[in-house]
Amino acid sequence: MAVTVKTFASATEAAGALSSDRTARYLGGGTLVMRALNEGDVSISTVVRAQDQALTRIDASGPRITLGAGVTFARVLAERDLGFLHGPARSIGGPAVRNMGTVGGNLFAPNPYGDFTVALLALDATVAVAGGFGARDIPIEAFLQARDRQAGTLVLSVSCTRPASTEAFRYRKIARIKPKGGSVITLAAYLPISGGRIAGARIALGSMAPTQIRARAAERALEGRSLDAATIAAAASAATEGTTPSDNALGSAWYRREIVGVHLRRLLSGQE
């Protein structure tokens, strides 16, 4: 079915077009929207694009980094200052998908995809969006919780604070197909350590709920403690709390609940 394609010079104009048409979808890298069109999704009758250079800008020089929504994973990988995000970016697709898929689009990727968003959730990123109401910033967790209602908003960029050290941010994706494949589960951990104790830990999980979620019980188990075996065991045993995984071709809900603690323990222990 033919759709109407509307291309705008500015993100603001595109956001206006998106918010005024319920059947419109924003086309970023194409890996989600073109797939839907190929599958005959008749709910999309308008495709909105923006050729705004602000959407592809990377600001990685300072302690707080900002990625335009249209930045591809290949560009993240090419940016030396974004080394802490190379693991998540490399875990997505093959080279062609990384040349096309974008940071902004990943926020909308359903299970078993959306791995980069797991990393951004652990980093407590801020999502800048534009809609009919103007532009605003939304904490990523709130954005994800309301993702079903975000169809009319255009993501402009995501930003987060750079982890203090490589040890402070960890990422792990479990896939059946090596080296690439959809996620069985995906984990990311932000572990700032102050005076030998964890202060402000954030654990994010992918494929353990309809959207990426924080593992609050595991975070509480870590808080104020040193990262020793007992603490790690407590966090691992709390990993399933609040999760609602589903069955899919890559794994059952039961299997996901069984392995999430194992992989969280390995992630926190620094095991391969």
């Binding site: 759709v3 109407t4 086309l27 080279p95 062609a96 998908v97 690439k180």
Partner: protein, 158 residues
């Protein structure tokens, strides 16, 4: 609904076509230009057999909105051969038995070309990474990896 005029370079030649809104690049190449080398596999970005180069960068043509390539340069397998001679990658695929049914081959060759164009002497791991988005269901990956390494290094056939 009116057709949209679209111009781009296809294997070094300027082409001009009219597409429907929402048409993907794979359909434009196969049905409007007649280049049947990129194949339709999954339509989801999972198999890689529709891979083409867009301005030298590996893309999946089935997930590329045709209009987005206006003014850009598209390379497909059809443009790989050099006159009457096979491209060294094509020759290496033949010599190393890297194509059985051949359905994945166009995508494998484009992924390999994208790699060798920027990294003429890749390691085995780099070759594996380069074709990690391309699925082969019958040849097996070893002959394909060996063929790409052979084309890169002029090595003896595996």
């Amino acid at each position: 609904m009116s057709k949209i005029p679209l111009q781009f370079r296809h294997n070094g030649h300027d082409v001009a076509i009219f597409v429907d809104g929402g048409t993907n690049l794979l359909v434009a190449l196969r049905e409007l230009i007649g280049d049947m080398t990129p194949k339709f596999g999954c339509g989801q970005g999972g198999c890689g057999t529709c891979s083409v180069l867009v301005d030298g960068e590996l893309h999946l043509s089935c997930l590329t909105l045709a209009e987005t390539v206006a003014g850009r340069s598209i390379e497909t397998l059809d443009g790989m051969k050099q006159g009457p001679n096979l491209h060294p990658l094509q020759r290496a695929f033949a010599d190393n038995f890297a194509a059985q049914c051949g359905y994945c081959t166009p995508g494998m060759l484009m992924a390999a070309k994208a790699l060798l164009d920027r990294n003429p002497r890749p390691s085995r791991d780099e070759v594996i990474e380069a074709i990690s988005g391309n699925i082969c269901r019958c040849t097996g990956y070893e002959p394909i990896i060996n063929a790409i390494l052979a084309a890169a290094g002029g090595r003896a056939s595996a």
